[in-house]
Every structure is written in structure tokens, then in C-alpha cells.
């Protein structure tokens, strides 16, 4: 059994607890202690830990999950956990982008692991694939829409012809923007995420301040419509590029052709395009934030650091029924080209045609 200590019982912490409760390999992962402010003690119940040390000094806890946000307490929790030889999983881009080099060194020294899949791109598997790729391949460039707040504001401004301030208010109402969304709009948030991604891609310490930043605070509906007439759509982009002379680190608005993969990433969705020398271009898209996607990324890390957890296909536990129905609408074509429309057909019926396809 893997005993887990959780730092932070906010939105993401709740998500972690809920997802842990739905684990497939029942009884493998056990949430042993949860640290948060005293006010949460009652809600947390028996497993409440009133200090960070109560978790870091517990020799029965193998792995800790940090989702407190901020930097001071997380730094304390992460460094003491690593020093105690515990594996650490964090969703906290601020503390990871600030101290990544130190955390990695501490992990190595203490034969522990530090994982942070949830710190960038929410539930999209990104950090771990990028790290694996960077070992043997050259990352030529990485372009990402990795801030849901700015992207949903841009989508609203374009699709509903809202002013910048109207779009910000709407995003706040929908829960996609914080009360003070400055860091999301001026590129600071993307610079933090960029520092983490660039550090992994190039295996060098790159900090948020190494990013040249341009924001979208002065964007107007007129600018959007001018560029739209030229067949362009604006996105706030994180761009990391390997050039012959060095590495370019930017956060800036980019006007994409309407058919470009990143131009099609809308609302609060995140998308990343990675160009590698050997592997070719890779594109990832998914939910970049929120309780469940973030908790999911944290638990992807948990599976990874406990690599002895593997599928066992125990037929007594898990023998799903395999269905033979063919649901939905279909087109059936006869050899002479005649087409018939079918709804929920049987397999035999479909096999009587020369060509069939499902309508989606």
C-alpha cells in the first residue's frame, strides 16, 4: 500500500481525494494525512495534520502531493519531504518555476522523485512526454496556448464582439478569470509555465524572467476585426524556440491563419505544438485547468512514481461485456453507388452493402 500525504485541501485537493476514491486497483493508494489551515480541520476529519512536519516526519508516508499554491509553505513542504526521501508531486507552477533546479538536486540526493505534470497544461500529458523526448531528441520549438483565461477572453471578443473589459467580466462570471487577472493577461503566468517547459526541453535552468513578455491588455475589437479581414486570429502564445545561436523565450500575441492548429484551440482549452527534430511535430489539446483535470494530472504522476503498479487483468475483478451493437446513423452504399441511410443497423445488414460508414 502507498500512503499519501496531501498538502492543501482547496479545489484541487478535493479533486485529488475524490479521484483517489475511484482508483481501479482498490487499496493500493491510501490517503493518510491532509494538511491545511486550522479552519479546515473539521471538514478533513481524522486524517487532519495540523503541521507540515506531521506529514514530512511520518515514515509511513511514501509520497506527498502539494497543491497549496503560493511559494512559502510549498517550498517548506517540498524541500522537507524530499530531504526525508519522499516522492513529491506538485501542481504548483509558481514554486516549481522558481526552485526547479534545487528540487531536482534534492530529489537526486535523496533518491526521491519530484513530479509536476499538473503544473502546466492541467490534465494534458505534457511535462512527462516532453522530458522523455528531450533525452534523445532535439526540441526545435514549442508553441502553446497554456492560459485558459486569456484564451477564453480572446474567443469571447472575437465571437461575441465584446470589448476587452466586457470579455474580462464575462470570464470572471464564468469562473475562467480571477478577480485580478493581470498575470494571465500580461504574460506573467505563461512565463512561469514557459520556464518549466523550457528548462525540461533544454535541460537548463530557465527562469520566468528570461521570457520577453507582451500581453493583450490593450487589445480592441477594431484590431481583431482588422486582422480578421486579413484571415487571421489572435492568440496569446508561449513560444520557446531553439535557434543556431541560442534559445528564444517569448510570450506574445500571434496572428495565426484561421486553419492553423493553434487558431482552432478555443475558449478555456489549452493546446501545445512541439516540433522535434526526429519525432516530428506533436500536437496536444485538452483542459488546461480546473479541479478534475488538475487532479487527474496529479494522479498520472502518482501512477508514474509507483511504476510497480501495472495492469494485471484479473478476470475475476474486471471482465467487461463486449457489445456487438452498431449504434447510430449509417450510410450504406450499393455497388452501383446507390446510398441508403440506416439507424442502429445489425452487422448482417451492414455486411450486405459494398461500403458503409457511420455518420458523426
Amino acid at each position: 500500500m502507498i500512503n499519501i500525504g496531501l498538502f492543501g485541501y482547496g479545489t484541487v485537493g478535493h479533486g485529488v481525494k475524490e479521484l483517489l476514491a475511484s482508483q481501479k486497483n482498490i487499496g493500493v493508494f491510501n490517503l493518510k494525512k491532509v494538511f491545511d489551515r486550522k479552519e479546515k480541520a473539521e471538514e478533513i476529519g481524522d486524517i487532519y495534520a495540523s503541521s507540515i512536519k506531521e506529514i514530512t516526519a511520518d515514515n509511513n508516508i511514501d509520497t506527498v502531493i502539494e497543491c497549496m499554491g503560493g511559494d512559502e509553505l510549498p517550498y517548506q513542504a517540498i524541500t522537507s519531504s524530499l530531504k526525508a526521501g519522499k516522492n513529491v508531486i506538485s501542481s504548483n507552477k509558481e514554486t516549481i518555476s522558481k526552485h526547479l533546479k534545487e528540487y531536482l538536486a534534492l530529489a537526486k540526493e535523496n533518491h526521491a522523485s519530484i513530479q509536476f505534470e499538473a503544473s502546466v497544461g492541467g490534465g494534458i500529458p505534457l511535462i512527462n512526454p516532453l522530458w522523455c523526448l528531450s533525452q534523445f531528441d532535439q526540441i526545435d520549438s514549442l508553441q502553446g496556448i497554456l492560459n485558459g483565461t486569456s484564451n477564453s477572453i480572446l474567443t469571447e471578443m472575437e465571437e461575441s464582439q465584446l470589448s476587452f473589459n466586457q470579455a474580462v467580466s464575462l470570464a470572471q462570471q464564468k469562473g475562467f478569470a480571477e478577480k485580478d487577472p493581470s498575470d494571465d493577461l500580461n504574460g506573467n503566468d505563461l512565463a512561469r509555465k514557459g520556464a518549466i517547459l523550457a528548462s525540461l526541453a533544454f535541460q537548463a535552468e530557465i527562469k520566468p524572467d528570461d521570457f520577453t513578455r507582451f500581453g493583450i491588455e490593450n487589445l480592441t475589437p477594431m484590431i481583431i476585426s482588422t486582422l480578421k479581414k486579413a484571415g487571421k486570429r489572435i492568440k496569446l502564445i508561449l513560444l520557446v524556440e531553439k535557434k543556431e545561436e541560442g534559445i528564444l523565450n517569448l510570450v506574445l500575441p500571434v496572428a495565426f491563419d484561421l486553419q492553423a492548429p493553434l487558431a482552432l484551440v478555443k475558449e478555456e482549452t489549452n493546446g501545445v505544438l512541439i516540433d522535434c527534430s526526429k519525432n516530428g511535430p506533436l500536437f496536444f489539446e485538452g483542459k488546461g485547468a480546473g479541479k478534475n483535470p488538475t487532479a487527474s494530472a496529479i494522479l498520472q504522476d502518482l501512477t508514474r512514481v509507483n511504476s510497480n503498479i501495472a495492469p494485471s487483468f484479473n478476470p475475476d475483478i474486471n471482465k467487461p461485456k463486449l457489445l456487438k451493437e452498431l449504434p447510430g446513423r449509417f450510410y450504406g452504399f450499393h455497388p452501383d453507388g446507390r446510398m441508403e441511410k440506416l439507424v442502429d443497423p445489425s452487422e448482417t445488414e451492414l455486411r450486405s452493402f459494398s461500403f458503409i460508414c457511420q455518420d458523426k
Copy 2:
């Protein structure tokens, strides 16, 4: 140092050797022995192994990579390696889809690991993310374009108005189709990949024969144009879906709306859409086959099974120069809306505008 034994020195094996030579952490991974037919002994040189046993009985070899193709020799190589406690990485969808349950049980029994990221979707990180997701989340559905041969034939038929046979010949000339591409066109190849993905997604043994298959062999230009008039594009899809009553496993042509994510996956590119209950929809796109993407996926596994290999950010080895240029074409907007076009501007120049964006 991690000593590696390689089974199979064909296209992918060559790619593995080349990528290993470009490893960032120099001297960590060492290719110790390579097994293949006697005719390749001279090309392989000093590290040639004339039998499978020469690798599986070598106690200094920690990890083996199997990229032979077929089933008989791979089965022998994989089972003996696992029994000897070695970690196994395989790119071979045939042997993995046939024996996954046995391989996983053997790995568990011998405290070893079996990894097969390269067996489905080439260089796209897919197997590992799916396995991590499946631990805590419910996979509601998985839809994929995971056969480059059929997809390049469909693209050619649509874009160049070729007949099915002409498109097959062209794909063969371009190296995207084998001499006998039947398994790619009738859905058998996708059923093998589907068996691997569905087994992981639902942690149950699902076999290629559990897939109901419809192919594209009888597709005609007339069918394509009929559906095109209805705003549809045909793709050959692997579909795995969790329903209340059980699991639906299909390979079939699907007519998508032109703007659907999978409709936009063209030529030999692969794309996969995974819908999860908690994490939401995820979309991955990349090169699904070929020497380098496949070798890259194999080496992603190699990084993963050796999780003690972590970034160290040694500034003596790796201190990239950070560039401050702003290359390319830009639009600069003044507060009154006037637009100026700029080429390779300085940061100061850009900061003089109210809003800027790069033109891509």
C-alpha cells in the same frame, strides 16, 4: 550505466541506435549487444549477438528493446528477458496485442517492466498517458486515426480524385503502404492497436478478434464526392466506447463533419481523441510511424523505466544562450487603431505600440 540489448536491426533498430548516440546524459545508456540474422553480423560489428540467449543470459544487460516484428522470435525474446528480470521495451503491436496479459504477469512476477509506447501511434505519447489516466479516471471513449497507410490513401483519393487502386499505388511509391496492404485497409492492423489500447483503458484482456471490422477496400471516388456534398469527410477509425451495458470495439469508416478534429488529420499523420469522465476530452496528433518517431517512442520508454535519470541542469554542460531578438513579421497598432507592419523589430520599437502581434 544502463546496458541495453537490442533485438532486431531493421529500420527501427537503426533509428534506436542513432538516437541512443545523441543522448543528452552522455554515457548513461550503453548499447551492449544487438541480435539479428547472421547476414547482419558484419554491419553490426563487435556487439553482434548470434542468439537471443546471448542477450537474455547476459547479467550485465538491464533493459532489452525488441523491434523485430512478427511474433515467434519476439515472444521468445520477451518472455526469456522478463524471466531473467530484465525490463522490456517493444514496438511490436502483433506480439503485444497477442500476449499482453502473459507479458504483464511475467513482468510482475519477476519485478521487471514491460513497456510498449511505440506499438501504437508511433512517436505520439499515448500508451503511457492512457495507462496513467485509466487508474483513476473513466475512459468514456477513444477514437483514433492510427493507421497511416489508410489515412494517406483517403487523403489522396479526396484531394487528387484518385481511384482506390491509384491511391494505393501512390502510397506504395511514397513508402506509406506495404506491398500487401490488406491488413491496413480491412481494419486488422487497427484491431491489433485497438486491442492494446482497450486493454489498458479498461484494464481487461481485449483481443484483436473482439473488434468488429469494416474496411475501405470498396471505397469509390463517387462515394467520396456524395459525402463531400453533404459536408462530410471519410476516415478509417478505431472506436472503443464504454456504454452502460459494456464495451463497444469497432474499426469502421466514419463520415465526419469537415471541422471535426479527426477530419483534419491528414496524410500519414495519426490522431487520437480520448474522452474521460474527469479529465475531459484529450486530443493527440503526430507521426504514427517511421524510423525516427518509432525509435523516439522506444526511447521515451527507456527514460521512463529508468526513472532515476532526471534533469540535473549542470551549468558546465548546458548553459544555452538566451536570445533577445524578435524575429519575423509583426503588426504594431497605435492607440488610434493605425496599423504598421514591422520586420525583425527591436523590443524597444515594439514597446512603442499600444498592441503588437507576430504574424504567423
